[in-house]
Amino acid sequence: MLKVRNLRKEFSTVLAVDDVSFEVRRGEVFGLLGPNGAGKTTTIRMVLNILQADGGEITYDDRHFGDHTRDIVGYLPEERGLYKKSKLLDTILYFAGLRGMHHGKAKAEAYRWLKRFALLEHAGRKVEELSKGNQQKVQFITAVIHDPVLVVLDEPFSGLDPVNQILLKNILLELKQQGKAVIFSTHQMDQAEKLSDTLCLINRGRVVLGGTVRDVKKSYGKNSLHVEFDGDGAFMENLPGVQRAIMYENSAELELGPSVKPRELLPLLNAKVELRKFELLEPSLNSIFILVVGGAGESTPGKTEEVTV
């Protein structure tokens, strides 16, 4: 569906996007990952022809962006915004009309989506009277109402409560099953891990990792010890054989040296904390992220723990 090759964008002196290439197929959820300021949004804007690329090529089914493309893409920008004084239904119908959707069909679809998001009773209210989360849902509707082939969502989960995050996640999986290509950007690795089929990790404008989630994880080996516990786990970083420790509130991910046997660590851990889980797994995307980006990312311990779905 979408092919991006050697994309480049310069802002006065900063190279915001440098030689970025990736591909998104139909029926695939593509995670565009990276810390803040990595160039995710700039890349998305170029994909949607909002920004002009300084170099490289973007094609949709081997065609360049044009009028035919405008109606088959849907977009949820990172910075949310709607017309505050306008009514919900009017707003949705306007954006649907801008995507070339027929009025009657748009109305039926708008009701269907509003119902799904439990917003039907607010259809006649002004946008500004809604909560932030509800406004975001309305904006999401405007991104998908016209049944686009390519759905681009910039940080779709930020600002949603856990219940609505699940709702959104299910909808994304549905879109995938319907054969749409979904791009979403995030810096929350657990979301990316659960949702995406393929991913692309960008840092400082360059692709540092790419491919299917499985391949990416495999390439980082299977020597990551996931523990959950009660008590103070600060000592774990200094245990023999632990190369790196990523600490969360009540859990930790310990990267072990090549010859270290997990069972040697068990008594050491048991002596100091109450263990609830002790498991050898592939590294999580989060730990890979921190490893690759060098901790420069925003994904701080604790934040990743917010949601467990």
């Binding site: 804007r45 949607l48 909002i50 920004l51 109606d71 920008p77 017309y83 004084k85 801008l98």
Partner: protein, 416 residues
């Protein structure tokens, strides 16, 4: 094309429903009627009760006759004298400064409305002063002047041994009536006020229409930029469609406004039997309104789309308002000399053409070639302004943060 209409429809329907628009629809003609009618109402209003006017007369010859004539000539609706004249001091040897101070105190205490001072001891040097807290009441001054003039004239004639009654017999009463000649040389009963009023009315209407919808245009662009709606908009339609849609939508809004005001105008003139303007010039004015509106729509987009905050928008709008206000300031001199060269020269500056024409058409219909030339000029200007605005809009609509420098904007226009 469809998307452009979708944008136009949205801009029109969303703005037409706003309180600001609906209030403006009624408030503006209300204010204009109030502004033009109320002052004349106040001025021509008769006094309700007698006013006491003091007189300090060093000549000693005037006060009594003056009192008598003022009280007889001007009466209230209930038959009482409009003015009660109270002689305060009449001896040539009086202490003038002290008398003036006393009279001033009385006026300050509202005992008397005001007082006249005749400083001269003889009527040869007749300077008369009228002092009052309300100097704005020019009717009283005119009446005092008229009565005193008569008395002094009579006394002078009498001093030459003639019959004072001659004054009344020989005085000529003359009113110069203003008659406006229309193109065909036909007489047209149009008072100065009416021509001035209608010229003013059309300029104000055009001015208000351009400013209000221009501001709306800029504000909607800034809103879309600041909440990034514009990203969604330009990913769904081209910037050209977006801009054209906005211009069309807001034009619809402006013409709704003008149409409504026009209806009010027709209703008012039918009601009171006044023709503000004939159908021919009205249609011509309509054309200039549309041309002027479209030109300024482009100017507002070009000037407004690079801005990022409301404050900047207000600043830029106020500059444009200053340009628009020039013909309004010139209304008076234009009335005096509608053929002046400078007036014609100013008409050929596209920024001023529509308002200058709105000023000139009711006063004196410009010649046919002038009308053709200015319309052609406006069409060319609109085309150029739209192209330039489109080039600016395309780039500026996506720029956030700091507003670009003027040099940068000019480069966008040139390089396209």
């Amino acid at each position: 094309m469809n998307k452009m209409l979708a944008v136009a429809r949205w801009e029109y329907l969303e703005k037409v429903k706003t309180k600001a628009f609906i209030i403006g629809l009624f408030l503006t003609p209300g204010l204009m009627i109030a502004m033009s009618v109320l002052p004349t109402l106040f001025i021509s209003q008769e006094d309700k009760e007698s006013k006491v006017v003091g007189v300090i007369d060093r000549s000693g010859e005037l006060a009594f006759t003056f009192a008598q004539r003022m009280q007889e000539r001007y009466r209230l609706s209930n038959g009482l004298s409009n003015y009660v004249i109270r002689p305060l001091a009449m001896e040539p040897g009086m202490d003038l400064e002290k008398e003036i101070a006393d009279a001033s105190a009385k006026a300050a205490a509202d005992e008397i409305e005001g007082f006249c001072i005749v400083r001269g001891t003889s009527l040869a040097d007749s300077v008369v002063e009228y002092r009052s807290k309300a100097v704005g009441d020019f009717r009283i001054a005119i009446r005092i002047e008229e009565v005193l003039k008569g008395i002094i004239a009579e006394k002078r004639i009498a001093s030459r041994g003639l019959d004072p009654r001659l004054v009344n017999e020989l005085a000529v009463r003359l009113d110069v009536k203003m008659v406006k000649l229309s193109k065909a040389g036909e007489r047209e009963e149009a008072g100065f006020e009416r021509v001035f009023f209608s010229a003013y009315l059309f300029m104000m209407a055009l001015f208000l229409m351009i400013v209000t919808s221009g501001q709306m245009l800029v504000r909607s662009v800034i809103e879309e930029k600041s909440n990034r709606i514009v990203e969604v908009l330009v990913s769904s339609c081209s910037p050209t469609e977006l801009m054209a849609g906005k211009v069309i939508g807001l034009s619809g809004l402006a013409f709704t406004q003008i149409g409504f005001w026009g209806l009010i105008g027709i209703a008012v003139s039918l009601q009171f039997g006044i023709t503000i303007i004939e159908a021919g010039p009205a249609l011509l004015l309509m054309v200039y309104f549309i041309l002027g509106y479209l030109f300024y729509a482009a100017v507002f987009i070009g000037a407004g789309s690079p801005l990022t905050t409301e404050q900047e928008a207000q600043q830029v709008t106020s500059y444009l308002v200053m340009i628009l206000i020039v013909p309004i300031v010139l209304a008076f001199p234009a009335m005096k000399s509608p053929d002046a060269t400078w007036l014609k020269v100013l008409t050929y500056i596209p920024f001023l053409t529509p308002t200058m024409m709105a000023l000139r058409i009711p006063i004196q219909m410009p010649s046919a070639w002038e009308i053709v030339a200015t319309m052609a000029l406006m069409l060319v200007s609109i085309f150029a302004a739209m192209v330039a605005a489109g080039r600016i809009f395309r780039i500026a609509v996506l720029s956030t943060g700091k507003s670009p420098k003027l040099a940068e904007i000019i480069r966008w226009v040139i390089t396209g």
